[in-house]
């Protein structure tokens, strides 16, 4: 039990640190990436995907099915997320790194994400009821 807390804490620390050092929490860097003015971070991201793919390939059978399925919300949800990301410069992990870098305005993003997740939970339970195959179940 305590091991799990330690592992998650360690991974969170590593993730926050790495993301901060790459510069993902810096809106200006991110904006320059999105308008293709500076592709450094895009290469970091794509490089990470390729590296992980190569390293994880031998474990393919041991990786539990993440249950990521194509469902009616995949495309509209991703579009909404993409627009929100461009506006706030935050994805669900970046917001914490922005706050950690001293950007107090990100508190509004934090509140926004909390409300968004809560809103989805209510609306989904009531109207959609499809399988979103969410992360980490």
């Amino acid at each position: 039990m305590i091991k799990q807390y330690l592992f998650y804490a360690f991974l969170g620390l590593a993730m926050g640190f790495v993301v901060a050092r790459i510069g993902f929490a810096d809106y200006d860097e991110l904006h320059r990436m999105f308008i293709f003015a500076d592709l450094r971070m895009l290469f970091s991201f794509m490089g990470a995907v390729v590296l992980s793919m190569l390293i994880l390939a031998p474990f393919a059978k041991k990786i539990p099915k993440q249950h990521k399925i194509f469902q009616p919300g995949t495309i509209p949800g991703s579009m909404l997320f993409g627009f929100g990301w461009a506006i706030s410069g935050a994805c669900p992990s970046l917001v914490f790194v922005q706050l950690g870098s001293g950007k107090l305005a990100a508190i509004f993003t934090l509140i926004g994400i909390y409300l968004g997740v809560l809103l989805h939970k209510k609306i989904h339970a009531r109207y959609f009821r499809w399988d979103t195959g969410s992360c980490g179940v």
Binding site: F17, R21, R40, P64, T74, V97, G100, G116, K121, S134
Partner: protein
């Protein structure tokens, strides 16, 4: 200090993704942690339910195992362990994992990302207390209150969107794409293209 060059960033991010799997036996996914933290009440109830269920099941399994051992000896036990990975087994693993990962663990995960970001910013000298997000962001959105309003609505879109899509940059983008899961590839393309289009539009308003 400068930000990391792209290759170091790639190695760092890949290391986190791979370590996440090696330590936890599952792939990285931050929006899943968000869902657990926001739904803490349900999670607590579910944990309790699963726990009592698992205890019952565990007791029954032990009894069965003892009986098998008495009847057929050690050989049968080995056979039992060699049992292929059936769907039932993987379901059981999922249930087991769920009861062992209460929402508080995910909360610790999110908080430690804040601490990690703080350490990274301090060490690289990027830490600075600011009421806005960045110069370009303020140029796009204007006065402080307009920036905050944009962030609030942007945040709602991010929260709602990631839950609806079933993943975010880490879950779909890093983990899903690294495993070449079709839904994740589609989702990643969609949110990247959306963000790029809107960023170009916002850039156009600056000129």
């Amino acid at each position: 200090m400068e930000y990391w060059p792209w290759w170091l960033g790639a190695i760092g991010l890949a290391a986190v993704t791979v370590l996440n799997f090696l330590l936890l036996g599952r792939l990285l996914g931050v929006s899943g942690s968000w869902a657990k933290v926001v739904g803490w009440k349900e999670d607590r109830e579910r944990s309790a339910e699963l726990k009592s269920l698992a205890e019952d099941k565990g007791g029954m399994e032990d009894a069965l195992l003892a009986e098998t051992l008495a009847e057929f000896g050690e050989a049968s036990l080995k056979e039992l362990n060699d049992e292929p990975d059936t769907e039932e087994a993987s379901t059981r693993r999922v249930i087991k994992e769920e009861q062992h990962t209460p929402w508080t663990v995910h909360f610790v995960f999110l908080l430690s990302m804040f601490v990690g970001g703080f350490l990274g910013a301090i060490i690289s000298g990027h830490f600075k207390i600011e009421l806005t997000l960045s110069p370009i962001h303020s140029q796009i959105f204007g006065a402080d209150w307009e920036v905050w309003l944009a962030l609030l609505f942007g945040g709602i879109m991010v929260g709602f969107g990631t839950q609806m899509a079933g993943g975010c940059t880490s879950g779909h983008g890093l983990s899903g794409c690294a495993r070449l899961i079709p839904a994740s590839l589609v989702a990643t393309m969609t949110f990247m293209v959306s963000a790029i289009l809107l960023s170009f539009m916002m850039q156009a308003t600056l000129r």
